[in-house]
């Protein structure tokens, strides 16, 4: 016995959530259209160009038909930005005479549903909970986390960049999800409500059926996560790093599209009288990331920065919080302009 929902009913639910004032985000082909023309579609009419295609991203949905449920491996970004935004204002300041006035700038939060997230996205949230609730309880993160319900869509296919099975997850992993959707075919989904939040969302909307979804095997296991951690620990100065990371150009595409990368930088924006303090995403691949005021840089070159990234994910984080900082989504490889990503490094290792 299983509970099921049709795709049409699911879209209906999405529309209902939107009309209730919830923020609903899910996979969507995103492109700006101005007037009747999207400039690059014109270009594409005469070419088979891959560059400039509308990207599939997790993005807020304005209507339920924008939701893409089929025909993709996973969006190019991750759901972390709905919990931990790329730019978040912490507070405003105003200098008045000798005093400083502080004011809250965060707009009132509201409930949100992340629909059709992939299991590798959903799993990132419990992993991130550790670091945002460790020595300091991050209120802004926790508030958004509390107000978020994650409805995951199990994967029916995978590509060469996927490696969830190597990090203990899989195409239908339940970790971090409030509800899990599995394709039954013919526009039907099996729904598994995993938490109270998930149950509340689908309460009274499901039909019971005899059909049970089959789960795909997922990508073949590529490496042992523990072995990676052990290797990194032992090979800090190994020639392996320079040899493997020559192609890295030092952009932040891998970190910014990774569901688990969470480093940020705090900046003050404004002038001498008033402004805001904000936090912005940051990436360990930037030369500025570890640059000290003295001019010393403990991670002086790209091999050291690449090692830092792997080290943090497979050695430092597990040592501190008991689990690795990677869900095997493969975004780092898909988005890397130099065709790298952690998988390439890890399988070479």
């Amino acid at each position: 016995m299983s509970a099921t929902i049709s795709q049409a009913a699911l879209r209906g639910l999405v529309a209902e959530w939107i009309s209730q004032g919830k923020r609903v985000a899910g996979p969507r082909l995103v492109s700006s259209e101005v007037g009747a023309v999207r400039p690059s579609t014109l270009l594409r009419a005469v070419s088979a160009s891959r560059t400039g295609e509308p990207p599939l991203l997790y993005a807020p949905l304005e209507s339920s038909d924008q939701l893409t449920l089929e025909g993709f491996i996973r969006p190019a970004n991750s759901i972390k930005e709905f919990i931990f935004p790329k730019h978040q204002e912490l507070y405003g300041y105003r200098i008045t005479g000798k005093g400083i006035e502080l004011s809250a700038v965060e707009p009132p939060a509201r409930e949100q549903v992340l629909i059709a997230a992939r299991p590798c996205d959903a799993a990132s949230l419990p992993i991130l909970d550790h670091v945002f609730n460790w020595d300091y309880k991050d209120e802004l993160y926790n508030l958004r986390r509390q107000l978020t319900t994650v409805v995951t869509l199990a994967c029916a296919a995978h590509d060469d960049a996927c490696f969830c099975t190597s990090v203990g997850l899989g195409p239908a992993a339940e970790r971090g999800s409030d509800a899990l959707l599995l394709e039954l075919g013919e526009g039907e989904y099996e729904v598994r409500c995993l938490t109270e939040k998930g149950k509340a969302l689908f309460d009274g909307k499901l039909q019971s059926s005899e059909r049970v979804a089959s789960v795909s095997a997922g990508p073949e296991k590529r490496f042992e996560a523990e072995a990676v951690g052990a290797f990194v620990k032992e090979h800090f100065d190994s020639a392996f790093w320079p040899a493997q990371t020559l192609a890295c150009l030092g952009c932040g595409a891998c970190a910014y599209t990774c569901p688990t990368c969470h480093c940020f930088d705090i900046v003050d924006e404004g002038n001498i009288e008033r402004g805001v303090r904000a936090r912005n995403w940051d990436s360990c691949q930037f030369a500025m990331f570890t640059l000290h005021a003295s001019g010393h840089n403990p991670r002086p070159n790209q091999p050291a920065r690449q090692r830092q990234r792997i080290d943090h994910k497979f050695h430092i984080y597990p040592e501190k919080f008991g689990e690795i900082l990677c869900t095997g989504c493969g975004n780092c490889a898909r988005n890397c302009p130099a065709g790298m990503g952690v998988l390439g490094v890890l399988t070479a290792l």
Binding site: G21, G52, P55, D65, N77, H87, Q88, P108, A109, Y256
Partner: protein
């Protein structure tokens, strides 16, 4: 110098509110003027008691040649309604040629602003000499009046389209008010929750688009059969490329050449294409790693400047005709020594990219050796601007709305910068914070300023390899900005970066004959 008259005396507003503008609207005009001519002209207007509106804030710089375009953007960011840039008449520059340099730069910069949808009615350029107090008075009067009619400038449509960034900013936000209150601060009013208020808010294309979603599926190799055949991380795609037939002997010839070069020791490393991406081959027995197929998109010349690669010794580099243009510019800018490398040019039938449709350099022209032959002919060059023209056909406010919506997706990963062979600064301006020129945040304001800077620092230098667009994980069509400058360079100066090794660099040089029609 009468330094005590830093703010030229003025006798109050001489023009009242006009038209249907809210009464009380006083235009804020920022004037960047040169120290030797226009500033003295303004000073003369003051000392001769000429009346003009007090709406202009003067910022004095040594020379118009030193007026950074970022200052113009900054002025709009902090609320200017119009900007005036003014200096010495041609021939009068106290540094001989500063104003000629400035003129050439403005010609290009205006085209970029036009593509971005700036209101050019609000950006004024003039030549005003030290003796032209009257012209200063007239200019300020005219600009003030014009701006008053235009009304307050809604830069960036005065709202942050950051709706996608996970900020719970929608005005329809309901319930669950947290401990945090939405108190009014200067910044929240600037980048607050207001939806786009000017122009037509950009509509997002909805999912059902059979052509693109099937393309998406194909690209991601959804069908099990495609999955099996996929090699490498970027899935292979079947595209009708003549490359596939010609590629095999060509790749053998390439490997043979590299084996020879490495064996004889004349080069220490071959920078080439491998199965997954760039490879750096240092031993003759490893040349089998090299491939040549329609996935060889990257412009490898970006690696020539990287310390880790330089440390490997004298390189041989694999280039396509389009990549080779970057070598020409880099050499012109004294960044590389052409003699210190071996260039392996690949005859390229096209990689199926947009740029390939109008490619005129299928066969590398300056390589040390060219591998393969190309039967392709140059395309009609008129097609090159097609996508740009579609954008330019829209009214400015819609263009700006388009870019606001595109840049909203920018996460500032700087992949566009890192893949660019021309972006070789040790420390990018966006990483400098004393003072902060470009705000590092990925907000509407910070993103627009960043993309203006990135595009304009490539003026006269961008070779059109489209790597920035390919690298962008958010799929922003950055090449439109590059195209707009390329078009301006060609139309105004008959210049194409990297095509002619003998040609002088475009920016950094000037001509007395440079023509424009907007400086008064």
């Amino acid at each position: 110098m009468n330094d005590h008259t830093v703010s030229p005396p003025s006798v109050g507003p001489t023009v009242g509110p006009v038209g249907d503008q809210p009464s009380g609207f006083e235009p804020k005009i920022v004037a960047f003027v040169c120290n030797w001519c226009t500033y003295l002209g303004a000073d003369l207007a003051g000392t001769t008691r000429l009346e003009y509106p007090p709406n202009v804030r003067i910022i004095r710089l040594p020379c118009t040649g030193r007026i950074d375009f970022n200052l113009i953007i900054k002025a709009f960011e902090i609320g200017a309604d119009s900007v005036l840039v003014s200096g010495c008449h041609p021939g009068d520059c106290h540094y001989t040629s500063g104003n000629y340099h400035a003129r050439r730069r403005w010609i290009l910069f205006r085209e970029l602003l036009q593509t971005l949808g700036f209101d050019l009615e609000r950006i004024h350029f003039t030549w005003i000499s030290a003796a032209e107090g009257h012209k200063w008075q007239q200019t300020v009067k005219e600009i003030t009046e014009k701006t008053r009619k235009l009304g307050p400038y809604k830069y960036l449509c005065s709202g942050d389209a950051a709706s996608r960034s996970g900020d719970f900013t929608s005005p329809s936000s309901v319930g669950l008010t947290a401990e945090l209150s939405n108190s009014e601060t200067p910044s929240s009013s600037q980048r607050g929750s207001a939806p786009l208020t000017c122009g037509k808010p950009p509509a997002f294309r909805a999912a059902p688009d059979p052509s693109s979603s099937s393309a998406q599926a194909e690209r991601l190799s959804l069908s099990p059969r495609a999955e099996e055949t996929v090699q490498g991380v970027r899935p292979a795609e079947s595209r009708s490329l003549s490359a596939s037939q010609a590629a095999e002997p060509q790749v053998q010839a390439l490997r043979e050449a590299c084996r020879r070069l490495l064996a004889e020791g004349s080069v220490k490393v071959v920078i080439g294409y491998g199965k997954r991406g760039p490879v750096f081959v240092t031993r003759p027995e490893d040349v089998e790693q090299l491939v040549w197929n329609d996935h060889c998109l990257a412009n490898l010349t970006v690696y020539l400047k990287r310390k880790e690669i330089r440390a490997l010794g004298r390189p041989a580099i694999v280039v396509k005709g389009c990549d080779e243009r970057a070598l020409v510019v880099l050499e012109k800018e004294s960044q590389i020594d052409r003699k210190e490398m071996h260039v392996l040019g690949m005859a390229c039938p096209g990689m199926g990219e947009a740029k390939c449709e109008t490619c005129e350099v299928h066969l590398p022209r300056f390589a040390d050796e060219v591998i393969g032959e190309s039967g392709q002919h140059a395309a009609e060059s008129g097609e090159r601007w097609k996508s740009l023209e579609a954008l330019l056909a829209l009214p400015p406010a819609e263009r700006m709305a388009y870019w606001a919506s595109e840049f909203d997706r920018c996460v500032k990963c700087y992949a566009c910068r890192q893949v660019c062979p021309m972006c070789y600064c040790e420390r990018c301006l966006v990483e400098k914070n004393r003072p902060t020129v470009i705000e590092p945040s990925a907000t509407a304001k910070g993103n627009l300023a960043w993309h203006i800077m990135r595009a304009f620092h490539l003026a006269g230098r961008c070779v059109g390899c489209d790597e920035c667009t390919r690298a962008c994980p958010a799929g922003i069509d950055l090449r439109l900005l590059n195209l707009s400058l390329a078009k301006a360079e060609e139309e105004h100066f008959a210049y194409r970066a990297g095509m002619d090794p003998k040609a002088e660099l475009l920016v950094g040089a000037y001509s007395l004959q440079d023509k424009e029609n907007f400086i008064r």
